[in-house]
């Protein structure tokens, strides 16, 4: 029996009008105060925004806050999509359409008991969630979100400021390196928990994450041969100039990268590390309260950064046909480019979620076979083919690249068709099962 006051509050929060009014009442004073005080601090803010050093830094912190918020929203979106996929409603109790669910989740995580079991390695146990979260949060620094912008109050001779936090020489190799640091969080969580479920989840996740890094590296090598640069902003600019997204030149390399990023984020169908039926919670079985949530923050932040990387490298970044290109540095064009980039990232996240609720989990031997015997040889052949095309100056020829991809795909299909080894089911070299003994 629910307390009538609680029920009344819940009903009130489910009213969209109340929600909108409350949000307006909370933001209006802040906006009003900011507007009233503008003469005192406006020049300072304008100066910061026009500065070539401070603007990328401020934009980076803005993106960091947005990613942290987006992870909370992603969890709601995931539960909603899971609900629609399974023909139910998903969360709809807290707030209108469940919109306050992330807030409720966050508060609940924060106020839950922080249990540190007696047998764990305390230092490593506390370090592990940090080691999972920090690499996931620093990866996006190289993403070129929206090109360059020139504010109306900037002098005409000042250089445009960039929306990219760090323009590194090593480019996307930085993201690759930082992304693979996430494996330490997982393996330490498994080791420190002193729990067999955690331990097996941890070593499974480690084997999986390191195995799928190789196809990822090979796919990015194919792209690198064509682009001739590691800097993502240059790769986006090339695609925007030619109007030809690299996914049209390297569809198979993109598929390799997409599959690997599913595995790198430990998401279904590659979520063996947390296979509930076998390992309870996997490597985070012993974690509670916000330490548990940090692993999920890391997973969703990884997903967002990975989607942004794929959008930047293969789907033209902020480029869309008919919209203003890099030459237009007005703030309207910058916001348009940002919207296009974020829109593409949202589509990718939707794809991630749809696939999680559509495709069943692999078995561990299948997982290893896909990485080492399927994707790695395919990636090597693709790389060799791209190198041959490059040697003959055909690396930007759509038809040559298409022929290469079709040939590699046909080779893979022929090999799979001839090998007569079932992809699913029991491995044929295991001894037969006697039916009577279960």
């Amino acid at each position: 029996m629910m307390d009538p006051t609680v029920a009344r509050i819940e009903r009130l929060l489910r009213n969209p009008l109340v929600l909108v009014t409350a949000a307006a009442a909370l933001t209006a004073p802040v906006v009003l105060l900011a507007w009233l005080l503008w003469p005192w601090y406006g020049g300072f803010v304008q100066g910061l925004l026009a500065d070539a050093f401070w603007f990328p830094l401020l934009f980076m912190l803005f993106v960091l806050v947005m990613i942290l918020n987006a992870t909370a929203l992603c969890i709601l979106a995931e539960r909603k999509i899971a609900g629609f996929t399974q023909d139910r409603r998903g969360p709809n109790r807290v707030g209108f359409w469940g919109l306050l669910q992330p807030l409720a989740d966050g508060l609940k995580f924060l106020f839950k008991e922080d249990i540190i079991p007696a047998n764990v390695d305390r230092a490593l146990f506390l370090l592990a969630p940090c080691l999972a979260l920090v690499p996931a949060l620093i990866g996006f620094a190289i993403i070129p979100w929206a090109g360059e912008v020139r504010w109306p109050w900037m002098p005409a001779d000042a250089p445009a400021v960039s929306t990219q936090a760090a323009s590194l020489d090593v480019g996307f190799l930085y993201l690759l390196a930082v992304g693979s640091l996430g494996v330490y969080g997982v393996v330490l969580a498994g080791y420190a928990s002193n729990n067999k479920y955690s331990f097996y989840g941890g070593i499974r996740a480690t084997a999986q994450m390191i195995s799928y890094e190789l196809p990822m590296g090979l796919a990015l090598l194919c792209l690198l041969m064509t682009a001739g640069s590691l800097r993502p902003e240059e790769i986006v600019a090339q695609q925007a100039d030619s109007g030809l997204w690299y996914v049209f030149l390297h569809p198979l390399a993109f598929l390799l990268l997409l599959t690997s990023s599913f595995a790198e984020t430990n998401r279904a169908p590659f979520d063996l590390a947390e296979a509930e039926q076998e390992l309870v919670g996997g490597f985070h079985t012993e974690y509670s309260s916000m330490k548990f949530a940090m692993f999920f923050l890391a997973e969703y932040a990884h997903m967002i950064t990975g989607s942004a990387l794929m959008v930047a490298l293969f789907f033209g970044g902020w480029h869309f046909w008919g919209l203003p290109g890099a030459a237009d540095t007005s703030w309207v064009a910058m916001l348009l480019r940002l919207a296009v980039f974020v829109g593409k990232v949202v589509l990718f996240i939707g794809l991630f979620m749809m696939i999680r609720w559509t495709i069943p989990r692999f078995r561990f031997d299948q997982l290893m076979r896909i990485a080492w015997l399927g994707m790695l040889p395919a990636g090597v052949v693709l790389l060799a083919g791209t190198a041959v095309l490059t040697a003959f100056g055909l690396e930007r020829n759509v038809w040559a690249c298409l022929a290469l991809n079709v040939a590699v795909l046909a080779g893979m299909l022929v090999y799979v068709g001839r090998s007569r080894r079932p992809v699913t089911g029991r491995q044929p070299d295991l001894p037969a099962v006697s039916v009577g003994a279960v």
């Binding site: 008991e113 969630p129 090598l221 690198l224 040697a391």
Partner: protein, 149 residues
């Protein structure tokens, strides 16, 4: 005596923002840990602090022998990953040596070709490297490293 602090002046490099982001992220992670430790309730007990293994008494310690294949996969990964990292400079420079479109590196490419390292030589060198990678993979495959029985 006036001390010279000029060597301590701050000069922004391309990694400055990465360092700031790293510091902020570590701060966020630490703040979360501290907050959740302070805000939550605290009820200790031998059962609550025990290892959760589906209600069973844990049998022995966790840190004991596990399947050697995980070790093999890790060693294989190290070998292949190092080879892949070696391929990155090659993949960056080979198209510049091979492609005529890149005017900025035409003289450099011509110099390479004059020294006997033309595009086809570089292609063969990279190919030999890839073949070595594949040979190692086939050897491990035949040895049964990928058979998870």
């Amino acid at each position: 005596m006036e001390r010279d602090w000029s060597h301590l002046t701050f000069a922004a490099t391309e990694f400055t923002n990465v360092a700031v982001l790293l510091a902020v992220s570590i701060g966020i992670a630490a703040a979360i840990l501290v907050l959740t430790h302070l805000l939550g309730p605290r009820h200790r007990g031998p059962v609550k602090e025990g290892t959760y293994e589906s209600g069973m008494e844990p049998i022995g310690d966790t840190r004991r022998r596990f399947n050697v294949r995980f070790y093999l996969v890790a060693v294989l990964f190290l070998l292949c990953d190092v080879e892949l990292v070696f391929l990155y400079p090659w993949a960056l420079l080979f198209p510049r040596a091979a492609g005529g479109a890149d005017a900025a590196h035409a003289a450099w490419a011509q110099g390479l070709a004059d020294a006997g390292y033309g595009p086809l030589y570089l292609l063969g060198a990279g190919g030999a490297f890839l073949v070595l990678l594949l040979l190692g993979l086939v050897y491990e495959w035949r040895r049964g490293v990928f058979r998870w029985t």
